[in-house]
């Protein structure tokens, strides 16, 4: 019961992008294509899980006033692991995600979960939390990327969707990202409100 709850909360009720409003920079920047969004999800979830595990393991040995630098160091290490690995085995993903791979370090989701959850809970439940949060983050990115790739480039996974349709190029660049996310948040708010009314 509790495991299910901890996992699901990251998807909906505490969705990092849609509800907590964190991790926005990658959400806006890398969602030009669904495959970018999925790779971002994998990279972030990996870092999140690893850092959550390590933080919950060492939490008792760290003096509380230096915990933030320690957490950052741990996170930065895992980010670099991801960076190097992608560079070696997925060079195309490495180029298209670009600067946003090192910037996973400053994604507030990761530091936030380390601080708020992993440093207070056991290893197993921390993994569940990380997976839930990572997938919740990734899911939002994927939906956003779906709209942006289909409308902005008439493509899905790099392949043309409807021949002859002229895509709105704006969706593929920054303004499209902002506006689409804004409209998604609006839709989300409406759904949440009508749900509350039903309850």
């Amino acid at each position: 019961m509790s495991i299910k709850k901890e996992f699901l909360k990251g998807l909906v009720e505490k969705n990092p992008v849609m509800v907590l409003g964190i991790g926005l920079c990658p959400a806006l920047a890398v969602t030009t294509s669904v495959s970018n969004a999925l790779w971002m999800m994998i990279a972030t979830t990996f870092v999140l899980t690893c850092s959550n595990v390590l933080v919950s393991l060492v939490k008792d040995y760290i003096p509380s006033h230096i915990r933030i630098p320690v957490f950052i160091t741990i996170i930065a290490a895992f980010v670099t692991v991801v960076e190097i690995t992608l560079k070696a085995y997925q060079p195309e993903v490495y180029t298209s995600l670009g600067i946003f791979i090192p910037l996973i370090v400053v994604n507030c989701i990761i530091l936030g979960r380390a601080e708020e959850f992993a440093s207070r809970n056991g290893v197993f439940i921390s993994i569940i939390d990380a997976l839930g949060m990572g997938i919740g983050f990734g899911l939002t990115l994927t939906i956003l990327a779906f709209f942006r790739e289909t409308l902005g480039a008439n493509k899905l996974f790099g392949y043309t969707l409807i021949p002859g349709f002229k895509p709105a190029g704006m969706m593929a660049i920054a303004p499209g990202a902002f506006i689409t996310l804004g409209l998604m948040l609006w839709a989300m708010n409406r759904i949440m409100v009508s749900r509350k009314h039903k309850k």
Binding site: S33, P63, I84, A88, Y89, G98, A153, G169
Partner: protein
């Protein structure tokens, strides 16, 4: 005293462990990354200096690297040169590798880095697959073989001493090629004139920068 030493020690230990981990990962992947880099360079050089064998690199006065290649044609050895140049595009810098012969005729270009709008400026490096998403998921996709972006292809054969003109004729087709070469022009990517011009600028910049060096090295 203990208040300082313990945290410092913990922090040092964590940093040390992290560095150790990274060093290991780096050591494992080092060769592969180096291989990928050289491969990328080789590929680019093969495009911009087609048929030339690379004889080595040289440096300009301000430490910029350029490549020298040669090939034998009709019993004569011809030199080719390749260099890298940059110019601001629609969003962010565009980096190109440009190959020229000693008369500054462009042999080929390769865009190494760009962050242009997908679907518009980014088409300068994209090869549009004729297969649609539905073809792919229904398994009816056709293998199209290795292709080269038409935008970059147009530059081969242009005269680098003269200004390369950007014309808006709609997207490039092979039929347009001879006409464009006679005008010393390239056809802009539809809707991405800024990107197209930026690439041309990039080439002009590079050629003017290396013009003297290459002429001198020829003598």
């Amino acid at each position: 005293m203990k208040d300082i030493i313990k945290p410092a020690a913990v922090l040092a230990a964590v940093t040390f462990c992290a560095s150790l981990l990274l060093a290991t990962v780096f050591a494992v992947t080092k060769e592969r990354i180096a291989f990928l880099d050289s491969e990328a360079e080789k590929n680019a050089l093969a495009i911009v200096l087609p048929g030339y064998s690379i004889t080595g690199t040289a440096k300009t006065k301000d430490n910029k690297i350029y490549w020298v290649g040669e090939k034998t044609e009709n019993g004569e050895t011809i030199n080719g040169f390749a260099f890298i140049s940059e110019s601001p595009g629609y969003s962010g810098t565009i980096r190109c590798m440009i190959g020229v012969d000693s008369n500054m005729n462009i042999l080929g270009i390769s865009i190494l880095k760009q962050t242009e709008t997908p679907g518009l400026g980014a088409r300068s490096v994209e090869i549009a697959s004729k297969n649609t998403f539905w073809d792919v998921i229904t398994g009816s996709a056709v293998d199209e073989g290795i292709q080269f972006p038409w935008f970059q292809q147009q530059f081969a054969g242009l005269n680098g001493n003269k200004t390369v003109q950007v014309v808006k004729n709609g997207d490039w087709t092979p039929e347009m090629a001879s006409d464009l070469v006679s005008q010393n022009a390239v056809s802009a990517i539809t809707g991405a004139t800024i990107t197209s011009k930026a690439v041309v600028d990039c080439i002009h910049k590079g050629i003017s920068e290396y013009n003297d060096i290459i002429k001198n090295s020829n003598k």
